[in-house]
Symmetry: C2
Subunit: 746 residues, 2 copies
């Protein structure tokens, strides 16, 4: 899996010209380092850079992607063993950590249109002569959605666009319900698992998800093998477990899925879907869509297939039959440590998953080989005598694709130790040619911006930070451009879900970062058999120049966190960002109030009905309850304190305290993110404990900031909104008390 | 032709509920009438309504659309004779007025792709069994663009999106020029004549225009015969003469094209295209588009065909060969008069064209039969003894489709008399089911709003005005909704071009209105053989209920103008609207200044180049000259006077002056629009004399308000902008002096 970062990253404008800035800026010192420490660190980083070798990465990429390597497959275990042996050879204390997790694989997959015409879907991606690994059919996982339940259902088909709640509001207005029917949704607009979840809530009996060429096929660009984009037979596999409830093994929520762990029965696992669901290609979807009856859909529902898109509801009739092998399979995380010389109990954790849906050259190997190259270079530094002050832990996660399982089980098993020792988690996943994308904890925003300013972009010779900033200024929206004029750092994106940072950040409260390049790497191979070495080296990142850039960024981040004299946390950027979130939720309530008023007005005065075409069905929706004014004062007061307290803490002073007390200061600093969590978790999903960042309950990957407040407002639960305002205020107060303690140490 | 009004009409919100307002509002008196006059007029209008007969309209529609009836065709003459005989039978003083105009028809039409594959385009719309007149191939005009020059050109093809100037800026950035090449543009985004004009300015040697299904084909809805929209073989015929220069016969600019008029040589006619141009269907376009090479186009250039859209530039190679018969043909306007009893030299002119591209049931007959029904009902009133105070002139124009030729030649021939006598011109054209659209002179805005409030919508039983207003409130953009809260009248659209009001309004300065219903009448038959009785009565306005509504609106408008005690001109709405235009042009200069600054900045600091994908061609555009601050004070001062003077003139007082002086007041009132013209016309196009409204030089149908100023700014001609600000200010001052004279009469 991979979070698409590039549309949500914000930026900042510098006052001098870009041109001429093609060498790393020479600042006085790095955040977390004195001037002397900075000089040594710079030397170390230049030695690190000198080790990086794209040719070797390419060889690894070819080897690791040579055969399908999903959860439980022989080649995935072989890759784990290979990676472990490499880490060992680089001097890491390395082991495989094994878990046993629920993993359904298809036994039967049948989809047929039974009326008005007969058509049996092919459900198969063909071999291409231009793609060397595409013919490995015996080892490939068939196209399916993992954690769909078994089922054999027949019913009329309804097109539900992206299948998110607002789409069903549109259907209701058209007098169409999905009870007893099968829905067909297109990929996009939400994480895929949301589609069957919402469909089942509305009474649907089955769900098909197809890749519309508008979203990642010929509408975007030439299709594979001519170009990078999804061809007519490409299918997006993917997990549909209800991850916004909790990720990881469905049978062992909150605890590590060791061999002997206590398990719930498969049938009672709450994160399985409630209805059968299957992904299909657009060549399979086309005959179904062509036969949909009923009214024509609105503009925002239209895809790029050469048909008039209709809602359906009575035709065609479709049968969907799915049966799975409900096995428990072993998975293997590769965990490699380089113990810290000074503070071995302060861990910098660095991870990228290893498993793929099929061959996975892009997802995840493009990120993994960069991480391996980075780890090897750090191993070389170690061999030459250098030792990190703090412990570095590299992790190659298994079973990420099925629901962040490898990382989640590991984080759950080691939760107590991690809460004590983990300083930060740095994640990567797919990587590609293009622009730097940064997401994560805003307490690390200034730190990672600084790192980005020290790495040169392979194509332009600007720094990667300067190119990302230029992109926001040239191609950003008004908000992004405005930020670019008023802020010293690029604003990093908040993390929702979609990769392995989730258990660390949102369950354990460990400050996290997620880093990757992209935007010029095409698309369309995602979770298909065509995510291959051939595809990636033609379109993703030929020559792996951006793999090297990723290793430089994440290697620097890891080395600086490991070596810092005082940990480089900084709180004014966090305060500024959370102030923004507070303004957003206040604005959300205000705009919902106005929108509700206008919408209710045109319902009650008859205008909404009056402007409908009377030859078409239109059901006037019920008026919604008005949005009350909420007391945001507790939140606003907490934010005011946060802004003040954040300014008080200054690294320049912190660096002056004695070495003996620095360990304590470090613990206060990295412990701050823990205070943003709450053991009760979020309403209805106690696994998600972070009160600032969470994946949306109805968006999946998409982040919700101040999620308790925001989702209560979105769900129009005013009582809960009031409670969550209080909870968020108290959370922020506890956080700032901790920062005050840090400020009081010097 | 037809102006699509429904997206540009603005509105106003009423404070009470719509429901219950389903009978015409009982106001004290009509604008232009005393209380007593109003009572009589109401009675007259109810007698008028009682005459209207949809069954008869349907019979006329069937008869008039039974065979192709374009300029010069036998059936068009038969229709003229039939209509003239009807008008005579209704008591009108009726004659045919004949002109002789240049009209090219195709002799040779060949389009072939010669490389990389051979393909000869079919250039033909097939007969459909569901459409009774679609097989009349012998009489149908082939699909072509009139006033294309002859040519036989071969060259590589370039896709230019809509073919407007900004599209060529995009091409330049991609390093693609069209010199020596053939362009293919899609319909939409501008009037069609702009496409070959701009292409020729950039050096192209030929131009194809196709109907992309995104714009009016399957993307919009089911295609004909299943639904209303354009099927794969449908072609949009149409004129490509350079009408923004001058409309009418290309050989007789500014004078009536009588048999003996002085003509220029065909080859020197400036409104012919400079390159050959031909319209094609999307089934003919598809093989060409599929073979375009080069980079993928940006999002806003993408249509709905199932291909990846590319710019082209080297492939494919296309040959376009066109030869025309350059004939001068007779055309016939039917002119029918009902002389005024009191003021025979004050004319209310009411027109709708008669000619079509093929059978033209929608365009223009749907409007024409409504006008005929209206004229017949007025004739019945006349027969029962009533006589209009002023003269009513009905016109059924010929040769509108080729370039507003019938109306333009008539207006030019009778220019002197019209300048003296014409009170107002009311135009209709295509009509269909849906919402009232009103455009025209804002001195008549209050008047036509009042009329709209007195006609009931056939589907909802609200008034047509209330339904149009509800549509703006429910479906309008923010500006439209805002207007709806602050204004007593729906804001009527400004007129650009696209129908027969142009010579009256923009050449002669006669206050004009253009009225029609639509928005629920589908689309896709425009200028094809499928614009037929079968198509129109299934999708356009089954039963012609909106034809009746149109007759009621325009009949009332005609009768009230003809009978008014004082002409119902009103100037505060005009002042308010022109103030808005002034703010727009000032804002335009400001936003261009900011945009130029930002754009130049990212050019000069290298950011624009830095964010490009270096594997693709990108030519950094030259910096543009900065936008100076312009002195808008003369315009602002004139507007301030306008607002004051407009308030001074009040009908309630004007009505009190003696009957003897009313004729003089009327002349002052209807003469006011003349003062908005200038005999020098607009820069580079002296035929267009109106200083407030003009079709855009580079948009065609699309209106430019305060065109002298606006287009100078758009073209970055600051010297001309300064001159035009002065000219507009003086124009407005002369206008308000006239209004002051009216106010001084009581």
């Amino acid at each position: 899996m991979r979070l698409i970062l590039f549309r949500t990253v914000f930026v900042f404008i510098f006052t001098f010209s870009l041109i001429g800035q093609n060498v790393p800026v020479d600042r006085k010192s790095f955040l977390g380092f004195t001037n002397e420490g900075t000089a040594a660190q710079k030397l170390l980083e230049s030695r690190f850079d000198a080790q990086l070798n794209a040719t070797e990465m390419l060889a690894w990429l070819k080897r690791l992607s040579a055969r399908p390597h999903h959860l439980g497959s022989p080649y995935n275990k072989q890759n784990a063993d290979f990676i472990a042996s490499q880490f060992k050879s680089w001097g890491y204390d390395t082991k495989l950590e094994e878990f046993h997790v629920l993993f359904p694989t298809p036994k039967t997959r049948i989809v047929e249109m039974t009326a008005p015409e007969k058509f049996t879907l092919r459900l198969n991606e063909p071999e291409l002569k231009e793609d060397a690994t595409s013919g490995q059919q015996v080892e490939q996982l068939p196209s399916y959605n993992a954690y769909s339940i078994d089922g054999d259902v027949t019913g009329p088909l309804v097109y539900v666009n992206y299948g998110v709640p607002t789409d069903y509001e549109e259907l209701e207005k058209r007098g169409i319900d999905v009870k007893g029917k099968i829905v067909i949704a297109r990929y996009g607009g939400s994480w895929r698992g949301i589609k069957p979840k919402v469909a089942a809530e509305r009474g649907a009996i089955g769900c098909l998800i197809y890749s519309d060429p508008r979203n990642d096929g010929f509408y975007q660009g030439d299709v594979y093998p001519k170009g990078a984009w999804r061809n007519e037979h490409g299918v997006q596999r993917g997990s549909v477990m209800d991850m916004p409830l909790y990720p990881g093994d469905p049978l062992t929520k909150g605890v590590g899925a060791t061999k002997d762990a206590k398990r719930i029965a498969t049938k009672s696992a709450p994160t399985l879907t409630k209805i059968p669901v299957l992904p299909i290609s657009y060549s399979d979807a086309l005959p179904l869509l062509r036969n949909l009856d009923g009214a024509v859909v609105p503009e925002s529902w239209k895809g790029a297939l050469p048909v008039t898109y209709h809602f359906g509801g009575r035709a065609p009739t479709v049968r969907l039959k799915l049966e799975f092998n409900w096995d428990v399979k072993p998975i293997y995380n590769v965990i490699a440590r380089l113990p810290g010389a000074d503070q071995p109990d302060q861990w910098i954790i660095r991870g990228n998953h290893r498993d793929a849906w099929v061959n996975g050259a892009d997802d995840p190997l493009s990120g993994l080989v960069a991480m391996m190259q980075e780890a090897k270079a750090i191993g070389e530094l170690r061999k030459s005598g250098w030792r990190p002050k703090r412990t570095i832990v590299y992790a190659s996660w298994d079973a990420e694709e099925q629901g962040l399982i490898g990382s989640t089980e590991w984080a759950e098993l080691h939760a107590d130790e991690l809460r004590r020792k983990a300083v930060a988690y740095i994640n990567t996943d797919s990587n590609g040619r293009g622009f730097l994308g940064m997401g994560g904890s805003h307490t690390l925003e200034k730190f990672i911006n600084e790192v980005g300013k020290d790495v040169v972009d392979p194509q332009t010779k600007l720094t990667v930070w300067e190119r990302a900033r230029a992109n926001q200024i040239v191609n950003g929206n008004a908000t992004q451009r405005r930020e670019a004029t008023s802020r010293g750092d690029l604003r990093i994106g908040a993390l929702g879900s979609g990769s392995d940072y989730t258990p660390f950040l949102q369950h354990l409260g460990i400050a996290s970062l997620n880093i990757g390049f992209g935007g010029e790497d095409g698309g369309g191979s995602y979770h298909s058999i065509y995510d291959s070495f051939d595809h990636y080296t033609r379109f993703g990142d030929p020559g792996l120049a951006y793999g090297i850039a990723l290793a430089k960024i994440c290697g620097r981040a890891t080395l600086r966190l490991a070596n810092a004299e005082v940990l480089p946390f900084e709180f004014t950027n966090f305060a500024d960002t959370v102030s923004g979130y507070a303004n957003e939720v206040i604005g959300l309530a205000d705009s919902m109030r106005e929108d509700t008023k206008s919408a209710n007005q045109v319902i009650s005065n008859g205008m909404l009905k009056a402007v409908q075409d009377p030859t078409e069905t239109f059901i006037v929706p019920k008026a919604k309850d008005p949005v009350p004014y909420l007391n945001f004062a507790p939140l606003q007061n907490a934010i005011a304190r946060l802004n003040e307290g954040a300014k008080k803490y200054q690294f320049s002073k912190a660096a002056s305290i004695s070495a003996a007390r620095r360990a304590e200061l470090d613990r206060i600093l990295y412990g701050s993110e823990r205070l943003l969590t709450r053991s009760e978790g979020l309403p209805r999903r106690d696994w998600f404990r972070h009160q600032i960042y969470a994946p949306g309950f109805y968006t999946g990957y998409g982040v919700k900031t101040l999620p308790g407040i925001r989702e209560a407002i979105e769900q129009r639960d005013w009582k809960e909104a009031r409670e969550q305002i209080e909870i968020a205020a108290r959370t922020i107060e506890r956080f700032i008390e901790q920062i005050d303690r840090a400020s009081e140490m010097y």
